[in-house]
């Protein structure tokens, strides 16, 4: 499996961040940064990372299964995450999520047929004082109204 030169450089740098013999520590960052390029945590990707860190694929697999941001199934090009945890709920987060479901015709962790948009109901994302909040990929949007959500979603289809 081959990666872009930038990602290769990043991987090479990552393993130097940890004490000698403890390179396994680079596993989660490698999976997170690699996922952005590969699109999802594929079996080949897991095998490749395992090989590089001297692990077996099973060890990588069990780690992948634990973390909610590591996706074995590819998400959309734009992954829309709506927080419905308490602080957001108090200011309309649940209604915002329902609105997104209807608007996109998608449910939790579903991807649109063209693969462009996916939706996820997520837990607190650290934007509680500016609720309700959503993230599109890694971009935060604060104090989102249903109208603003519509505009954001329209923008993604282009």
């Amino acid at each position: 499996m081959t990666f872009s030169p930038e990602l290769e450089a990043k991987f090479a740098d990552l393993v130097t961040h940890y004490p000698e013999g403890r390179q396994r520590a680079a596993l989660i960052p490698m999976l997170m940064f690699g996922q952005e390029e590969v699109g999802s945590i594929t079996p080949e990707f897991m095998e490749e990372v395992a090989k590089r860190l001297g692990l077996n694929t099973m060890q990588v697999d069990e780690v992948v299964g634990y973390y909610s941001m590591l996706h074995k199934k590819g998400m959309g090009k734009y992954h829309v995450q709506v927080c419905t945890n308490v602080a957001c709920m108090l200011r309309g987060g649940a209604e915002l999520y329902d609105h997104a479901c209807h608007k996109l015709g998608l449910g939790h962790k579903e991807v649109s047929a063209d693969g462009v948009i996916s939706l996820e109901e997520v837990e607190c994302m650290g934007a509680c004082s500016w609720a309700p909040a959503i993230q599109v990929n890694y971009d935060f949007h604060h104090e989102v109204t249903t109208e603003q959500l519509d505009t954001i979603l329209e923008g993604l289809k282009k």
């Binding site: 997170m32 069990e62 909610s68 509680c128 500016w130 890694y138």
Partner: protein
């Protein structure tokens, strides 16, 4: 960088005074505003002197548990032959909490300086900032600040022309609340599932890579430079006895001016909500406040006339926790709040121990049942009993964190659960009116 909310004139800005300055994240701005002065001072005094300043400051951990920081620093065996490490907990995922994000976004060098002083105090040469995966943009900000610090001689070898050396790296999480728990965080840092470790040994003795580790929250480390600059005693005097200094409180929910504000420990809770937060929104009455993140038991409106310090809030039966203060107005449905909180803990339970894995799952099912209108009176008792039985019986504190708010809500708002049950035509006879 742009501020997300207007500051308040009632704030005491000790660790947030650079927020909102132009290029506040850059080393130039930092140096122009007292930056790295505390480090120079720390380089001149002994590690014990640093720790004594911290003890005098009455700084308590800002991550949740509120453990006295100076004491924690003194537990790290400086003489140990093993390498010592610094780990910063930037996993910030306690619902209601959004302050560490600002500390990194607006003032990353303050955090670096705090780490450097920690490294001097315990003899560490390496450290990691464990940043939750969702905060991807902060990793870029932090990496840039770290690179600037290397370039200017504040990281790497021969720091400030001395023989002190320290390397600092960011490390991304990948979405797991439990990885904010210190021992689970260390597992995750080592590239494993975030399942907590048995303690003792505590991280101070055996932490990252089985070496002595100083692990603190972002805000805790970020408070250290100010403490050394102004002196431990002066910092302590800002607060109240046993709760020194200031902290960032994240106000959310039904208030007119939600936001993150820095206030001294002991600041009156109602003054905070009414004067800084502009009061409850829409002219409504206050119903309850969750004072320190979703793990902290909520306080009814009539219990809120207290100062915000660790001891006063504990006396009222709750916790200052992570500083995530959520305000609820009179229209808030407490059954829905209890259910949403439990859905979170059930989702985040790592599954390692049975009381938490099964307890949160059943509590969620029962709360869902009441909320859906199919509840029985005995469900209300069972919810309270089950939560009570989880207390102190789980492998890590996440179990308690799930149980505590549930117990409080059921006890304080039992009538609302009963109303849900009363609306159920198939509810047990004792509550269905015959007429």
């Amino acid at each position: 960088m742009k501020l997300f909310n207007e500051p308040s004139p009632l704030e005491t800005k000790i660790i947030s005074f650079r927020f909102g300055l132009e290029n506040s994240a850059s080393i130039d701005t930092y140096l122009a505003h007292d930056g790295y002065k505390a480090l120079r001072k720390a380089l001149e005094i002994s590690p014990d002197d640093i720790i004594n300043e911290l003890k005098a400051s009455n700084l308590r951990g800002r991550g949740g548990a509120g453990f006295p920081t100076g004491m924690k620093w003194s537990f790290v065996p400086r003489a140990s032959e093993k390498p010592k490490y610094i780990v910063v907990n930037a996993d910030e995922s306690e619902p209601g909490t959004c302050k560490d994000r600002l500390l990194i976004q607006h003032d990353p060098h303050q955090l670096i300086e705090g780490c450097l002083i920690g490294a001097l105090a315990v003899g560490a040469k390496k450290g990691w900032i464990y940043i939750r995966g969702e905060y991807n943009y902060l990793i870029h900000i932090m990496d840039k600040a770290i690179a600037e610090a290397y370039k200017n001689g504040y990281l790497g070898k021969n720091i400030c022309g001395t023989d002190f050396e320290f390397d600092l790296y960011t490390h991304t999480g990948a979405g797991a609340y439990e990885c904010g728990e210190e021992s689970a965080l260390l597992e995750s840092l080592e590239g494993k599932r975030g399942v907590p470790r048995i303690r003792p040994p505590f991280p101070a003795i055996s932490g990252a890579f089985q070496s002595p580790t100083l692990l603190n929250n972002v805000e805790t480390f970020s408070s250290v430079p100010a403490i050394l600059r102004m002196g431990g005693q002066a910092y302590a005097d800002l607060g109240v006895p046993r709760s020194g200094g200031t902290r960032l409180v994240c106000m959310s929910g039904h208030v007119n001016k939600p936001g993150v504000y820095e206030v001294p420990l002991g600041f009156p809770l109602m003054k905070f909500v009414n004067e800084i937060g502009g009061g409850v929104w829409k002219g409504r009455a206050l119903k309850a406040i969750i004072p320190g993140g979703s793990s902290s038991p909520l306080l009814k409106a009539e219990e809120c006339d207290i100062p915000m310090d660790y001891d006063s809030i504990a006396k009222a039966g709750s916790m200052l926790g992570s500083g995530g203060l959520m305000v609820m107005d009179e229209t808030t449905d407490m059954v829905k709040v209890a259910l949403r909180i439990m859905r979170f803990y059930q989702h985040e339970s790592c599954g390692w121990c049975i009381p938490c894995r099964e307890g949160t799952t059943w509590l969620k099912k029962m709360l869902q049942r009441v909320s859906d209108g199919h509840g029985q009176t005995r469900d209300i008792d069972l919810i309270g009993d089950l939560a009570q039985n989880m207390m102190g019986r789980t492998f890590c504190p996440l179990g308690d964190a799930a149980a505590m708010p549930t117990i409080a809500i059921v006890k304080k708002y039992r009538n609302e659960f009963e109303e849900y049950v009363a609306r159920n035509p198939f509810a047990s006879p004792e509550l269905v009116s015959i007429a």
